[in-house]
Point group: C2
Chain length 254, copies 2
Amino acid sequence: MAKIVAVANQKGGVGKTTTSMNLAAALALSHKPVLLIDLDPQANATSGLGIEKAAPTIYDCFINKTTAREAIVGTAIPQLAIIPSCHDLVAAEIELSDILNRETLLKRLIDDISGDYNVIIIDCPPAFGILTINALVAAHSVLIPVQCEYYAMEGLGRLMENVERIRQSFNANLQLEGILLTMWDSRVTLSKQVSQEIREFFKEKVYRSIIPRNIALAEAPSYGQSALLYNSASAGSQAYIELAKEFLTHGEKG
Amino acid sequence: MAKIVAVANQKGGVGKTTTSMNLAAALALSHKPVLLIDLDPQANATSGLGIEKAAPTIYDCFINKTTAREAIVGTAIPQLAIIPSCHDLVAAEIELSDILNRETLLKRLIDDISGDYNVIIIDCPPAFGILTINALVAAHSVLIPVQCEYYAMEGLGRLMENVERIRQSFNANLQLEGILLTMWDSRVTLSKQVSQEIREFFKEKVYRSIIPRNIALAEAPSYGQSALLYNSASAGSQAYIELAKEFLTHGEKG
Ligand SMILES: Nc1ncnc2c1ncn2[C@@H]1O[C@H](COP(=O)(O)OP(=O)(O)OP(=O)(O)O)[C@@H](O)[C@H]1O
Ligand SMILES: Nc1ncnc2c1ncn2[C@@H]1O[C@H](COP(=O)(O)OP(=O)(O)OP(=O)(O)O)[C@@H](O)[C@H]1O
Ligand SMILES: [Mg+2]
Ligand SMILES: [Mg+2]
Protein backbone atom coordinates (compact mmCIF):
# COMPACT_ATOMS: atom_id res chain seq x y z
CA MET A 1 0.00 0.00 0.00
CA ALA A 2 1.38 3.35 -1.02
CA LYS A 3 1.81 6.28 1.35
CA ILE A 4 -0.47 8.98 -0.11
CA VAL A 5 0.59 12.59 0.49
CA ALA A 6 -1.34 15.72 -0.59
CA VAL A 7 0.81 18.82 -1.18
CA ALA A 8 -1.58 21.66 -0.41
CA ASN A 9 -1.84 25.32 0.52
CA GLN A 10 -4.57 27.70 -0.67
CA LYS A 11 -2.01 30.52 -0.81
CA GLY A 12 -0.79 30.86 -4.35
CA GLY A 13 2.81 30.59 -5.52
CA VAL A 14 4.31 29.04 -2.36
CA GLY A 15 6.05 26.14 -4.15
CA LYS A 16 3.40 23.37 -4.17
CA THR A 17 4.19 22.24 -7.71
CA THR A 18 7.96 22.69 -7.33
CA THR A 19 7.83 20.60 -4.13
CA SER A 20 5.55 17.90 -5.60
CA MET A 21 7.74 17.44 -8.67
CA ASN A 22 11.13 17.55 -7.01
CA LEU A 23 10.26 15.51 -3.93
CA ALA A 24 8.68 12.90 -6.24
CA ALA A 25 11.79 12.94 -8.42
CA ALA A 26 14.17 12.63 -5.46
CA LEU A 27 12.19 9.67 -4.06
CA ALA A 28 12.05 8.00 -7.49
CA LEU A 29 15.79 8.47 -7.99
CA SER A 30 16.33 6.57 -4.73
CA HIS A 31 14.54 3.65 -6.43
CA LYS A 32 11.14 3.94 -4.86
CA PRO A 33 8.28 3.69 -7.36
CA VAL A 34 6.42 6.99 -7.12
CA LEU A 35 3.22 8.28 -8.70
CA LEU A 36 2.58 12.02 -9.00
CA ILE A 37 -1.04 13.12 -9.50
CA ASP A 38 -1.51 16.60 -10.98
CA LEU A 39 -4.78 17.89 -9.53
CA ASP A 40 -4.33 21.50 -10.67
CA PRO A 41 -6.20 22.75 -13.79
CA GLN A 42 -3.09 24.84 -14.55
CA ALA A 43 -1.35 21.48 -15.21
CA ASN A 44 2.03 22.89 -14.14
CA ALA A 45 3.40 19.58 -12.83
CA THR A 46 2.37 17.98 -16.15
CA SER A 47 4.19 20.53 -18.33
CA GLY A 48 7.01 20.85 -15.79
CA LEU A 49 7.80 17.16 -16.38
CA GLY A 50 7.75 17.66 -20.13
CA ILE A 51 4.37 16.10 -20.87
CA GLU A 52 2.50 17.92 -23.64
CA LYS A 53 -1.16 17.42 -24.65
CA ALA A 54 -1.69 14.36 -22.50
CA ALA A 55 -4.80 12.22 -22.95
CA PRO A 56 -6.54 10.80 -21.01
CA THR A 57 -6.00 12.97 -17.91
CA ILE A 58 -7.30 13.17 -14.34
CA TYR A 59 -10.26 15.04 -15.79
CA ASP A 60 -11.26 11.93 -17.75
CA CYS A 61 -10.93 9.86 -14.58
CA PHE A 62 -13.38 12.16 -12.80
CA ILE A 63 -15.84 12.79 -15.61
CA ASN A 64 -15.48 10.00 -18.22
CA LYS A 65 -14.89 6.96 -15.98
CA THR A 66 -11.33 6.43 -17.23
CA THR A 67 -9.38 4.28 -14.75
CA ALA A 68 -6.25 5.57 -13.05
CA ARG A 69 -4.22 2.86 -14.77
CA GLU A 70 -5.36 4.11 -18.20
CA ALA A 71 -4.28 7.68 -17.40
CA ILE A 72 -0.83 6.94 -15.95
CA VAL A 73 2.14 7.95 -18.13
CA GLY A 74 5.87 7.56 -17.60
CA THR A 75 8.38 10.40 -17.21
CA ALA A 76 12.10 10.83 -17.95
CA ILE A 77 12.79 9.23 -14.54
CA PRO A 78 12.19 5.44 -14.65
CA GLN A 79 10.54 5.07 -11.25
CA LEU A 80 8.39 8.21 -11.59
CA ALA A 81 4.96 8.08 -13.26
CA ILE A 82 2.29 10.79 -13.43
CA ILE A 83 -1.46 11.12 -13.91
CA PRO A 84 -1.48 14.35 -15.92
CA SER A 85 -3.91 17.24 -15.66
CA CYS A 86 -5.53 19.52 -18.23
CA HIS A 87 -7.33 22.84 -18.35
CA ASP A 88 -10.77 21.25 -18.57
CA LEU A 89 -10.36 20.40 -14.90
CA VAL A 90 -11.22 24.03 -14.12
CA ALA A 91 -14.85 23.08 -14.76
CA ALA A 92 -14.67 20.27 -12.20
CA GLU A 93 -15.98 22.45 -9.40
CA ILE A 94 -19.26 22.86 -11.29
CA GLU A 95 -19.37 19.51 -13.11
CA LEU A 96 -18.85 17.53 -9.90
CA SER A 97 -21.22 19.60 -7.78
CA ASP A 98 -24.16 17.25 -8.13
CA ILE A 99 -22.33 13.91 -8.21
CA LEU A 100 -22.99 11.70 -5.20
CA ASN A 101 -19.93 11.19 -2.96
CA ARG A 102 -17.97 13.71 -5.03
CA GLU A 103 -15.51 14.14 -2.14
CA THR A 104 -14.29 10.54 -2.38
CA LEU A 105 -13.86 10.29 -6.18
CA LEU A 106 -10.06 10.47 -6.02
CA LYS A 107 -9.82 8.07 -3.10
CA ARG A 108 -11.80 5.44 -4.98
CA LEU A 109 -9.77 6.08 -8.13
CA ILE A 110 -6.45 5.53 -6.34
CA ASP A 111 -7.59 2.38 -4.49
CA ASP A 112 -6.93 0.03 -7.39
CA ILE A 113 -3.41 1.26 -8.19
CA SER A 114 -2.05 2.17 -4.77
CA GLY A 115 -0.40 -1.26 -4.45
CA ASP A 116 1.91 -0.45 -7.37
CA TYR A 117 3.71 2.45 -5.68
CA ASN A 118 5.65 3.28 -2.54
CA VAL A 119 4.50 6.88 -2.50
CA ILE A 120 1.73 8.80 -4.24
CA ILE A 121 2.08 12.61 -4.25
CA ILE A 122 -0.87 14.86 -5.15
CA ASP A 123 -0.16 18.43 -6.34
CA CYS A 124 -3.12 20.68 -5.37
CA PRO A 125 -4.38 23.94 -6.90
CA PRO A 126 -4.28 27.22 -4.90
CA ALA A 127 -7.80 26.96 -3.53
CA PHE A 128 -9.79 25.08 -0.95
CA GLY A 129 -12.36 23.73 -3.40
CA ILE A 130 -13.57 20.30 -4.44
CA LEU A 131 -10.19 19.30 -5.95
CA THR A 132 -8.15 19.98 -2.80
CA ILE A 133 -10.89 18.37 -0.70
CA ASN A 134 -10.62 15.23 -2.86
CA ALA A 135 -6.86 15.19 -2.29
CA LEU A 136 -7.21 15.55 1.50
CA VAL A 137 -9.85 12.80 1.63
CA ALA A 138 -7.68 10.42 -0.40
CA ALA A 139 -4.44 11.20 1.45
CA HIS A 140 -2.87 9.70 4.56
CA SER A 141 -1.12 13.00 5.21
CA VAL A 142 -0.72 16.55 3.98
CA LEU A 143 2.60 18.33 3.28
CA ILE A 144 2.26 22.13 3.47
CA PRO A 145 4.83 24.30 1.63
CA VAL A 146 5.03 27.80 3.11
CA GLN A 147 6.89 30.65 1.47
CA CYS A 148 8.86 32.62 4.10
CA GLU A 149 6.66 35.66 3.67
CA TYR A 150 3.83 37.35 5.55
CA TYR A 151 0.71 36.29 3.60
CA ALA A 152 1.78 32.64 3.41
CA MET A 153 2.34 32.56 7.17
CA GLU A 154 -0.94 34.35 7.86
CA GLY A 155 -2.94 31.73 5.93
CA LEU A 156 -1.36 28.78 7.75
CA GLY A 157 -3.72 28.84 10.72
CA ARG A 158 -6.75 28.81 8.48
CA LEU A 159 -5.34 25.93 6.44
CA MET A 160 -4.85 23.86 9.59
CA GLU A 161 -8.49 24.53 10.53
CA ASN A 162 -9.59 23.30 7.12
CA VAL A 163 -7.47 20.16 7.50
CA GLU A 164 -9.11 19.54 10.87
CA ARG A 165 -12.55 19.87 9.26
CA ILE A 166 -11.68 17.22 6.68
CA ARG A 167 -10.42 15.00 9.49
CA GLN A 168 -13.77 15.32 11.28
CA SER A 169 -16.05 14.80 8.29
CA PHE A 170 -14.27 12.57 5.76
CA ASN A 171 -10.84 11.28 6.76
CA ALA A 172 -10.26 10.66 10.46
CA ASN A 173 -6.70 9.42 9.86
CA LEU A 174 -5.47 12.48 7.98
CA GLN A 175 -2.08 13.42 9.48
CA LEU A 176 0.22 16.40 8.96
CA GLU A 177 3.22 15.12 6.99
CA GLY A 178 5.07 18.32 7.73
CA ILE A 179 5.40 22.07 7.08
CA LEU A 180 8.13 22.94 4.55
CA LEU A 181 9.73 26.39 4.47
CA THR A 182 10.33 27.43 0.86
CA MET A 183 11.99 30.28 -1.07
CA TRP A 184 14.18 30.99 1.92
CA ASP A 185 16.61 33.84 1.31
CA SER A 186 19.25 34.19 4.02
CA ARG A 187 19.93 37.82 2.99
CA VAL A 188 16.36 38.86 3.72
CA THR A 189 15.30 39.62 7.31
CA LEU A 190 11.66 38.82 6.51
CA SER A 191 12.63 35.22 5.68
CA LYS A 192 14.31 34.84 9.07
CA GLN A 193 11.46 36.50 10.98
CA VAL A 194 8.73 34.46 9.33
CA SER A 195 10.55 31.13 9.59
CA GLN A 196 11.33 31.79 13.24
CA GLU A 197 7.67 32.52 13.98
CA ILE A 198 6.55 29.39 12.15
CA ARG A 199 9.10 27.19 13.96
CA GLU A 200 8.14 28.64 17.33
CA PHE A 201 4.46 27.96 16.73
CA PHE A 202 4.55 24.61 14.90
CA LYS A 203 7.79 23.28 16.50
CA GLU A 204 8.79 19.79 15.30
CA LYS A 205 5.99 19.77 12.70
CA VAL A 206 8.33 21.92 10.56
CA TYR A 207 10.91 20.06 8.46
CA ARG A 208 14.53 20.71 9.34
CA SER A 209 15.20 20.84 5.58
CA ILE A 210 14.63 24.32 4.13
CA ILE A 211 14.28 25.03 0.42
CA PRO A 212 16.36 28.09 -0.53
CA ARG A 213 15.35 30.55 -3.24
CA ASN A 214 17.36 29.06 -6.10
CA ILE A 215 17.11 29.93 -9.76
CA ALA A 216 17.54 26.33 -11.00
CA LEU A 217 14.13 25.53 -9.46
CA ALA A 218 12.51 28.27 -11.53
CA GLU A 219 14.46 27.48 -14.73
CA ALA A 220 13.94 23.69 -14.80
CA PRO A 221 10.21 23.73 -15.74
CA SER A 222 10.95 25.62 -18.97
CA TYR A 223 13.05 22.59 -20.01
CA GLY A 224 10.27 20.16 -19.00
CA GLN A 225 12.44 18.62 -16.31
CA SER A 226 12.57 18.37 -12.56
CA ALA A 227 15.46 20.38 -11.13
CA LEU A 228 17.09 17.09 -10.13
CA LEU A 229 17.60 16.20 -13.79
CA TYR A 230 18.13 19.76 -15.00
CA ASN A 231 20.83 20.63 -12.46
CA SER A 232 21.31 18.08 -9.70
CA ALA A 233 24.21 19.98 -8.12
CA SER A 234 22.13 23.14 -7.60
CA ALA A 235 21.24 24.26 -4.07
CA GLY A 236 17.55 23.73 -4.92
CA SER A 237 18.03 20.12 -6.00
CA GLN A 238 20.25 19.33 -3.04
CA ALA A 239 17.60 20.72 -0.68
CA TYR A 240 14.94 18.46 -2.16
CA ILE A 241 17.29 15.46 -1.89
CA GLU A 242 17.72 16.31 1.82
CA LEU A 243 13.95 16.69 2.17
CA ALA A 244 13.41 13.25 0.61
CA LYS A 245 15.78 11.71 3.17
CA GLU A 246 13.96 13.42 6.03
CA PHE A 247 10.60 12.40 4.53
CA LEU A 248 11.66 8.74 4.45
CA THR A 249 13.16 8.63 7.93
CA HIS A 250 10.82 10.80 9.94
CA GLY A 251 7.35 9.87 8.78
CA GLU A 252 4.38 11.99 9.78
CA LYS A 253 4.93 14.86 12.15
CA GLY A 254 1.56 15.24 13.72
CA MET B 1 -19.14 56.51 -13.34
CA ALA B 2 -16.07 54.73 -11.99
CA LYS B 3 -13.62 52.83 -14.17
CA ILE B 4 -13.86 49.24 -12.87
CA VAL B 5 -10.71 47.12 -13.19
CA ALA B 6 -10.37 43.44 -12.23
CA VAL B 7 -6.83 42.35 -11.25
CA ALA B 8 -6.82 38.67 -12.18
CA ASN B 9 -4.60 35.69 -12.97
CA GLN B 10 -5.37 32.11 -12.01
CA LYS B 11 -1.63 31.50 -11.46
CA GLY B 12 -0.91 31.83 -7.79
CA GLY B 13 1.55 34.24 -6.22
CA VAL B 14 2.12 36.51 -9.24
CA GLY B 15 1.44 39.78 -7.40
CA LYS B 16 -2.34 40.29 -7.78
CA THR B 17 -2.86 41.52 -4.21
CA THR B 18 0.37 43.54 -4.15
CA THR B 19 -0.65 45.23 -7.41
CA SER B 20 -4.27 45.84 -6.34
CA MET B 21 -3.25 47.45 -3.05
CA ASN B 22 -0.37 49.54 -4.28
CA LEU B 23 -1.95 50.72 -7.53
CA ALA B 24 -5.07 51.66 -5.55
CA ALA B 25 -2.92 53.49 -3.00
CA ALA B 26 -0.94 55.34 -5.69
CA LEU B 27 -4.14 56.47 -7.42
CA ALA B 28 -5.72 57.53 -4.11
CA LEU B 29 -2.59 59.49 -3.14
CA SER B 30 -2.99 61.44 -6.39
CA HIS B 31 -6.40 62.55 -5.03
CA LYS B 32 -8.65 60.23 -6.99
CA PRO B 33 -11.32 58.54 -4.86
CA VAL B 34 -10.63 54.80 -5.18
CA LEU B 35 -12.50 51.72 -3.94
CA LEU B 36 -10.66 48.40 -3.57
CA ILE B 37 -12.83 45.27 -3.45
CA ASP B 38 -11.17 42.19 -1.89
CA LEU B 39 -12.73 39.21 -3.65
CA ASP B 40 -10.25 36.63 -2.34
CA PRO B 41 -11.28 34.36 0.59
CA GLN B 42 -7.66 34.65 1.80
CA ALA B 43 -8.51 38.32 2.53
CA ASN B 44 -4.89 39.38 1.93
CA ALA B 45 -5.76 42.87 0.66
CA THR B 46 -7.95 43.35 3.76
CA SER B 47 -5.21 42.41 6.24
CA GLY B 48 -2.54 44.03 4.08
CA LEU B 49 -4.30 47.36 4.59
CA GLY B 50 -4.48 46.79 8.33
CA ILE B 51 -8.15 45.85 8.61
CA GLU B 52 -8.78 43.17 11.21
CA LYS B 53 -12.02 41.23 11.76
CA ALA B 54 -14.12 43.34 9.42
CA ALA B 55 -17.88 43.00 9.38
CA PRO B 56 -19.90 43.12 7.20
CA THR B 57 -17.76 41.91 4.28
CA ILE B 58 -18.19 41.10 0.59
CA TYR B 59 -19.49 37.71 1.76
CA ASP B 60 -22.44 39.43 3.45
CA CYS B 61 -23.10 41.39 0.27
CA PHE B 62 -23.34 38.14 -1.70
CA ILE B 63 -25.15 35.99 0.83
CA ASN B 64 -26.96 38.26 3.33
CA LYS B 65 -28.15 41.10 1.07
CA THR B 66 -25.87 43.69 2.71
CA THR B 67 -25.44 46.69 0.37
CA ALA B 68 -22.01 47.73 -0.88
CA ARG B 69 -22.35 51.03 0.95
CA GLU B 70 -22.87 49.20 4.27
CA ALA B 71 -19.69 47.13 3.76
CA ILE B 72 -17.32 49.93 2.72
CA VAL B 73 -14.64 50.92 5.27
CA GLY B 74 -11.95 53.58 5.15
CA THR B 75 -8.19 52.96 5.21
CA ALA B 76 -5.16 54.93 6.40
CA ILE B 77 -5.22 56.75 3.02
CA PRO B 78 -8.07 59.30 2.92
CA GLN B 79 -9.16 58.71 -0.69
CA LEU B 80 -8.88 54.90 -0.47
CA ALA B 81 -11.81 52.78 0.76
CA ILE B 82 -12.19 48.99 0.75
CA ILE B 83 -14.92 46.37 0.78
CA PRO B 84 -13.16 43.76 2.94
CA SER B 85 -13.20 40.00 2.49
CA CYS B 86 -13.32 37.11 4.94
CA HIS B 87 -12.66 33.38 4.97
CA ASP B 88 -16.33 32.44 4.72
CA LEU B 89 -16.12 33.52 1.11
CA VAL B 90 -14.40 30.19 0.38
CA ALA B 91 -17.85 28.61 0.52
CA ALA B 92 -19.18 31.02 -2.12
CA GLU B 93 -18.44 28.60 -4.94
CA ILE B 94 -20.95 26.19 -3.42
CA GLU B 95 -23.38 28.64 -1.79
CA LEU B 96 -23.83 30.63 -5.00
CA SER B 97 -24.08 27.61 -7.31
CA ASP B 98 -27.87 27.58 -7.41
CA ILE B 99 -28.57 31.32 -7.27
CA LEU B 100 -30.11 32.76 -10.41
CA ASN B 101 -27.81 35.20 -12.29
CA ARG B 102 -24.96 34.36 -9.90
CA GLU B 103 -22.45 35.71 -12.45
CA THR B 104 -23.79 39.26 -12.21
CA LEU B 105 -24.06 39.56 -8.41
CA LEU B 106 -21.02 41.82 -8.10
CA LYS B 107 -21.99 43.95 -11.07
CA ARG B 108 -25.39 44.68 -9.55
CA LEU B 109 -23.80 45.33 -6.15
CA ILE B 110 -21.37 47.90 -7.57
CA ASP B 111 -23.99 49.72 -9.67
CA ASP B 112 -25.33 51.83 -6.81
CA ILE B 113 -21.94 53.04 -5.56
CA SER B 114 -19.90 53.36 -8.75
CA GLY B 115 -20.74 57.06 -9.00
CA ASP B 116 -18.81 57.76 -5.79
CA TYR B 117 -15.40 56.69 -7.13
CA ASN B 118 -13.03 57.43 -9.99
CA VAL B 119 -11.62 53.89 -10.01
CA ILE B 120 -12.78 50.58 -8.52
CA ILE B 121 -10.11 47.84 -8.31
CA ILE B 122 -11.09 44.21 -7.67
CA ASP B 123 -8.43 41.80 -6.25
CA CYS B 124 -9.20 38.27 -7.48
CA PRO B 125 -8.32 34.86 -5.98
CA PRO B 126 -5.93 32.46 -7.82
CA ALA B 127 -8.65 30.49 -9.60
CA PHE B 128 -11.03 30.83 -12.48
CA GLY B 129 -14.15 30.19 -10.43
CA ILE B 130 -17.36 32.06 -9.67
CA LEU B 131 -15.58 34.87 -7.80
CA THR B 132 -13.20 35.75 -10.66
CA ILE B 133 -16.07 35.38 -13.14
CA ASN B 134 -18.10 37.89 -11.09
CA ALA B 135 -15.15 40.31 -11.22
CA LEU B 136 -14.74 39.99 -15.01
CA VAL B 137 -18.48 40.45 -15.56
CA ALA B 138 -18.54 43.59 -13.39
CA ALA B 139 -15.33 45.10 -14.80
CA HIS B 140 -14.71 47.38 -17.76
CA SER B 141 -11.20 45.93 -18.08
CA VAL B 142 -8.80 43.37 -16.65
CA LEU B 143 -5.24 44.03 -15.48
CA ILE B 144 -3.09 40.88 -15.55
CA PRO B 145 0.02 40.71 -13.33
CA VAL B 146 2.55 38.16 -14.63
CA GLN B 147 5.59 37.05 -12.67
CA CYS B 148 8.64 36.88 -14.96
CA GLU B 149 8.80 33.10 -14.66
CA TYR B 150 7.89 30.09 -16.79
CA TYR B 151 4.62 28.89 -15.26
CA ALA B 152 3.13 32.38 -15.11
CA MET B 153 3.96 32.95 -18.77
CA GLU B 154 2.63 29.53 -19.77
CA GLY B 155 -0.76 30.24 -18.21
CA LEU B 156 -1.20 33.60 -19.96
CA GLY B 157 -2.63 32.19 -23.19
CA ARG B 158 -5.23 30.23 -21.29
CA LEU B 159 -6.20 33.28 -19.25
CA MET B 160 -6.75 35.32 -22.41
CA GLU B 161 -9.02 32.57 -23.74
CA ASN B 162 -11.05 32.69 -20.54
CA VAL B 163 -11.35 36.47 -20.80
CA GLU B 164 -12.60 36.06 -24.35
CA ARG B 165 -15.21 33.57 -23.16
CA ILE B 166 -16.51 36.09 -20.60
CA ARG B 167 -16.61 38.71 -23.34
CA GLN B 168 -18.77 36.43 -25.49
CA SER B 169 -21.18 35.29 -22.83
CA PHE B 170 -21.53 38.04 -20.21
CA ASN B 171 -19.59 41.25 -20.85
CA ALA B 172 -19.07 42.25 -24.48
CA ASN B 173 -17.20 45.42 -23.51
CA LEU B 174 -14.53 43.74 -21.36
CA GLN B 175 -11.17 45.19 -22.42
CA LEU B 176 -7.60 44.29 -21.50
CA GLU B 177 -6.33 47.07 -19.24
CA GLY B 178 -2.80 45.75 -19.62
CA ILE B 179 -0.27 43.04 -18.77
CA LEU B 180 2.06 43.96 -15.90
CA LEU B 181 5.46 42.29 -15.48
CA THR B 182 6.14 41.69 -11.78
CA MET B 183 8.98 40.44 -9.56
CA TRP B 184 11.49 41.39 -12.23
CA ASP B 185 15.07 40.66 -11.22
CA SER B 186 17.64 42.14 -13.60
CA ARG B 187 20.33 39.71 -12.33
CA VAL B 188 18.28 36.69 -13.42
CA THR B 189 18.38 35.57 -17.07
CA LEU B 190 14.99 33.89 -16.75
CA SER B 191 13.37 37.27 -15.98
CA LYS B 192 14.83 38.76 -19.13
CA GLN B 193 13.90 35.76 -21.30
CA VAL B 194 10.31 35.56 -20.07
CA SER B 195 9.67 39.30 -20.26
CA GLN B 196 11.12 39.43 -23.77
CA GLU B 197 8.82 36.60 -24.91
CA ILE B 198 5.80 38.26 -23.35
CA ARG B 199 6.59 41.64 -24.95
CA GLU B 200 7.16 40.04 -28.35
CA PHE B 201 3.84 38.26 -28.20
CA PHE B 202 1.62 40.84 -26.53
CA LYS B 203 3.46 43.98 -27.79
CA GLU B 204 1.90 47.27 -26.64
CA LYS B 205 -0.58 45.41 -24.39
CA VAL B 206 2.31 45.13 -21.87
CA TYR B 207 2.88 48.10 -19.57
CA ARG B 208 6.18 49.90 -19.98
CA SER B 209 6.33 50.07 -16.16
CA ILE B 210 7.90 46.94 -14.66
CA ILE B 211 7.62 46.02 -10.97
CA PRO B 212 11.04 44.89 -9.65
CA ARG B 213 11.48 42.24 -6.98
CA ASN B 214 11.75 44.54 -3.96
CA ILE B 215 11.65 43.54 -0.35
CA ALA B 216 9.59 46.55 0.80
CA LEU B 217 6.65 45.12 -1.16
CA ALA B 218 6.88 41.88 0.82
CA GLU B 219 7.48 43.59 4.18
CA ALA B 220 4.72 46.19 4.04
CA PRO B 221 1.76 43.79 4.54
CA SER B 222 3.13 42.66 7.89
CA TYR B 223 2.70 46.28 9.05
CA GLY B 224 -0.83 46.48 7.63
CA GLN B 225 0.21 49.14 5.14
CA SER B 226 0.59 49.58 1.43
CA ALA B 227 4.25 49.89 0.43
CA LEU B 228 3.55 53.51 -0.50
CA LEU B 229 2.96 54.38 3.14
CA TYR B 230 5.47 51.87 4.57
CA ASN B 231 8.39 53.01 2.40
CA SER B 232 7.49 55.41 -0.37
CA ALA B 233 11.10 55.80 -1.52
CA SER B 234 11.53 52.05 -2.17
CA ALA B 235 11.98 50.78 -5.72
CA GLY B 236 8.71 48.86 -5.35
CA SER B 237 6.68 51.91 -4.35
CA GLN B 238 8.24 54.05 -7.06
CA ALA B 239 7.35 51.40 -9.66
CA TYR B 240 3.72 51.45 -8.59
CA ILE B 241 3.68 55.26 -8.73
CA GLU B 242 4.99 55.01 -12.31
CA LEU B 243 2.37 52.36 -13.10
CA ALA B 244 -0.39 54.64 -11.76
CA LYS B 245 0.78 57.44 -14.09
CA GLU B 246 0.79 55.08 -17.06
CA PHE B 247 -2.62 53.72 -16.01
CA LEU B 248 -4.10 57.22 -15.96
CA THR B 249 -2.60 58.39 -19.25
CA HIS B 250 -2.79 55.31 -21.43
CA GLY B 251 -6.19 53.79 -20.74
CA GLU B 252 -7.03 50.35 -22.02
CA LYS B 253 -4.53 48.53 -24.17
CA GLY B 254 -6.76 46.24 -26.14
N1 LIG C 1 12.80 27.64 -4.01
C1 LIG C 1 12.53 28.31 -5.13
N2 LIG C 1 13.43 29.18 -5.61
C2 LIG C 1 13.16 29.91 -6.72
N3 LIG C 1 12.01 29.84 -7.42
C3 LIG C 1 11.08 28.98 -6.99
C4 LIG C 1 11.27 28.15 -5.84
N4 LIG C 1 10.16 27.40 -5.66
C5 LIG C 1 9.32 27.75 -6.64
N5 LIG C 1 9.87 28.67 -7.46
C6 LIG C 1 9.24 29.35 -8.60
O1 LIG C 1 8.25 30.21 -8.04
C7 LIG C 1 7.03 30.11 -8.78
C8 LIG C 1 5.94 29.55 -7.87
O2 LIG C 1 6.22 28.21 -7.54
P1 LIG C 1 5.15 27.05 -7.80
O3 LIG C 1 4.50 27.26 -9.11
O4 LIG C 1 5.80 25.74 -7.53
O5 LIG C 1 4.13 27.40 -6.63
P2 LIG C 1 2.66 26.82 -6.44
O6 LIG C 1 2.35 26.94 -5.01
O7 LIG C 1 2.57 25.49 -7.08
O8 LIG C 1 1.80 27.88 -7.30
P3 LIG C 1 0.20 27.77 -7.57
O9 LIG C 1 -0.41 28.34 -6.31
O10 LIG C 1 -0.04 28.65 -8.77
O11 LIG C 1 -0.11 26.34 -7.81
C9 LIG C 1 7.34 29.24 -9.98
O12 LIG C 1 7.68 30.08 -11.05
C10 LIG C 1 8.52 28.40 -9.53
O13 LIG C 1 9.33 28.03 -10.61
N1 LIG D 1 7.58 42.88 -6.65
C1 LIG D 1 7.65 42.14 -5.55
N2 LIG D 1 8.84 42.01 -4.93
C2 LIG D 1 8.95 41.22 -3.83
N3 LIG D 1 7.94 40.54 -3.27
C3 LIG D 1 6.74 40.64 -3.84
C4 LIG D 1 6.51 41.44 -4.99
N4 LIG D 1 5.20 41.36 -5.32
C5 LIG D 1 4.65 40.53 -4.43
N5 LIG D 1 5.56 40.10 -3.53
C6 LIG D 1 5.38 39.13 -2.45
O1 LIG D 1 5.22 37.85 -3.09
C7 LIG D 1 4.12 37.13 -2.50
C8 LIG D 1 3.04 36.92 -3.55
O2 LIG D 1 2.46 38.15 -3.91
P1 LIG D 1 0.88 38.38 -3.83
O3 LIG D 1 0.35 37.76 -2.59
O4 LIG D 1 0.61 39.80 -4.07
O5 LIG D 1 0.44 37.52 -5.09
P2 LIG D 1 -1.03 37.07 -5.47
O6 LIG D 1 -1.03 36.85 -6.93
O7 LIG D 1 -2.00 38.02 -4.92
O8 LIG D 1 -1.13 35.66 -4.68
P3 LIG D 1 -2.46 34.75 -4.62
O9 LIG D 1 -2.43 33.99 -5.91
O10 LIG D 1 -2.25 33.85 -3.40
O11 LIG D 1 -3.61 35.66 -4.48
C9 LIG D 1 3.67 37.97 -1.31
O12 LIG D 1 4.34 37.47 -0.16
C10 LIG D 1 4.12 39.37 -1.65
O13 LIG D 1 4.39 40.12 -0.51
MG1 LIG E 1 1.14 24.77 -8.46
MG1 LIG F 1 -3.70 37.62 -3.73
